[in-house]
């Protein structure tokens, strides 16, 4: 495989409710990523976007987002109805051809207009699960319950994850929920959907993220500290939650192996643990020990711009290397309920 590096990235803040439209808050994010990469917009050889019509509440919603890219004169671009992390994957594959040297990937979404309990049941099997109205919180709660019953997790650990995430987020200007919390106070809060309390859930967020990648020669030419993508892989699991062991993430483990997570020590991991119990689960799936700093950005518990949140993990892992001195980081993105589809990306400094 060709060596590909991340040479620029940008995010919008995550808002509980953006007063701008998605294209309006997306376009400065893309312009910013391009500027930080130190390249000319017209030099991009390929662009790939990630977004979701049902999240936006409109068929063909992604078409308006093209206006934020600079698509005149025409460009080569594509779109996945998936988190921007998979748009990055498609762009990474495209760069492997070797005929172009720069690519843009972005993800964006507004979760504020819709109700997750109405929307996400549509993401499940339409014959057997959607009619149950199985919403993301209930499904996550089932997973957390399974872990608690197995003894691999405690409610205190969940609260500690939430508290640590919020505290870390204080250093992240793009985060939405941040600040100090007292774990005992969190544990005194009532359940929302047992065993999950409010702090175990991600916030509702609107936001966007963009990442610029370059092939090796280009990266070295324009970027002082390129962040190398040493491995990237994604895997999906059977859909029916009842057919999976929800206390493990087999596909994350598989993707991690294929991406080469365990080849060398990992310093930082940005994991798409949308619910507090998932962090420990993902740590184990990726073989990350206690020495690994997880979600220094605050992670999805601090900001959850669906369709951008996975790509933002990649951007934050890249930031840990290019701005904070880490040498090796792992980023994880997820799709579907209870971690059905997982993408793992291994990043290294030069």
């Amino acid at each position: 495989m060709e060596d590909i590096a991340i040479i620029g990235y940008a995010q919008s803040p995550s808002w509980r409710q953006a007063d701008l439209t998605e294209p309006q808050f997306l376009f400065p994010v893309i312009s910013d990523a391009i500027a930080r990469a130190g390249i000319d917009r017209r030099d991009l050889g390929f662009t790939c976007a990630g977004s979701c019509d049902y999240l936006s509440g409109q068929t063909f919603a992604f078409v308006s987002n093209l206006e934020a890219v600079g698509a005149w004169p025409p460009i080569s671009e594509s779109h996945v109805e998936m988190d921007g992390a998979w748009a990055l994957y498609e762009a990474w594959v495209r760069l492997q051809h070797g005929d172009i040297d720069l690519a843009l990937a972005f993800g964006s979404g507004k979760s504020s207009p819709g109700d997750p309990a109405e929307i996400y049941p549509l993401q499940m099997d339409p014959y057997t699960i959607t009619p149950l109205g199985a919403d993301p919180v209930s499904l996550a709660a089932l997973q957390a319950r399974a872990m608690l019953d197995k003894g691999t997790l405690t409610e205190r650990e969940m609260a500690e994850t939430a508290a640590r995430s919020r505290a870390s987020a204080a250093g992240n200007p793009y985060a939405q929920v941040s600040g100090p919390s007292d774990v005992d106070a969190l544990l005194r809060e009532p359940y929302l959907t047992a065993p999950l309390r409010r702090h175990d859930l991600p916030p509702i967020s609107d936001g966007a993220c963009a990442v610029i990648m370059a092939t090796a020669d280009k990266a070295r030419a324009v970027c002082e500290r390129p962040v190398w993508i040493r491995g990237i892989d994604h895997r999906i699991e059977p859909h029916q939650p009842g057919m999976r062991d929800l206390t493990e993430s087999l596909s994350t483990r598989q993707a991690g192996t294929h991406a080469g997570v365990g080849d060398k020590p990992v310093e930082v991991a940005e994991l798409c643990a949308t619910f507090s119990h998932q962090e420990k689960l993902l740590r184990e799936a990726l073989g990350l020990g206690d020495e690994v700093t997880v979600n220094p950005s605050g992670g999805p518990l601090a900001a959850n711009p669906v369709m951008a949140v996975g790509l933002a993990r990649i951007a934050e892992a890249a930031r840990a290397i290019s701005e904070r001195g880490a040498q090796r980081a792992v980023a994880h993105a997820t799709s579907g309920q209870c971690l059905q589809h997982n993408l793992v990306c291994v990043l290294e400094g030069g």
Binding site: Q17, D19, L20, T21, P23, Q24, F27, P28, S31, R41, Y54, G57, Q58, S64, L66, E67, A68, V69, G70, A71, W72, K110, S112, P113, G114, D115, E118, I119, L122, P126, Y127, T130, P131
Partner: protein
């Protein structure tokens, strides 16, 4: 949800299940569209003129996608409510859930006089559908001020003037030669 009848005979087997879902999305108008809507209520059609390339966007989007620059109230232009039909079609309505049209209706792109700007997907009124043609000069038919409404304006309005402009009626002036408008879809 479907409106087609199953073809299979009823032999007792379960072949279809109806699932009717309703999703609600509440998105506040962004500042640019809110201002546009307020101006509509007052009887003005406004757009944004890109400070770099001069293209006029009606309704305004808050950016110029060609130059990839933000546009703001500073770039607002009041547009003419008179223009010419640059393109049109007559749609024979298909019935589907939420459809309110029952008779063939016109959707036209109106190229506005003066500063320019094109209002697309506009209704043409006070003229038989068969008489609508490219080059026809038209003017906006505004609802009486007390009856105007912006409750159907959204961030993604197709035509962008519903609730305030009923449609566009011929002014009776001589046509603009169609050849001058042949290329004009937007």
């Amino acid at each position: 949800m479907s409106d087609a009848k199953p073809e299979a005979p009823d032999d007792g087997s379960v072949r279809m299940m109806d699932y009717f879902m309703q999703l609600e999305y509440h998105e506040p108008l962004c500042p640019v569209v809110m201002r546009y809507a307020d101006e509509l209520l007052q009887g003005h059609v406004t757009g944004h003129k890109c400070p770099r390339c001069g293209l006029v966007y009606a309704p305004p989007r808050g950016y110029c996608p060609i130059c990839v620059v933000e546009t703001t109230d500073q770039d607002e232009v009041v547009l003419s409510d008179r223009g010419v039909i640059a393109n049109y079609t007559v749609v024979t309505p298909v019935q589907y859930y939420g459809q309110q049209e029952t008779e063939p209706f016109v959707r036209a792109g109106i190229l506005l006089d003066g500063e320019g700007g094109m209002m697309n997907l506009q209704d043409v009124v006070e003229v038989p559908v068969d008489d609508v043609h490219v080059g026809m000069r038209v003017e906006a038919v505004w609802k009486p001020e007390a009856e105007r409404s912006i409750e159907d304006v959204t961030n993604r309005s197709w035509g962008g003037a519903e609730g305030c402009i009923v449609g566009w009626r011929p002014t009776g002036e001589a046509d603009v030669p169609a050849e001058q408008l042949q290329g004009r879809a937007f």
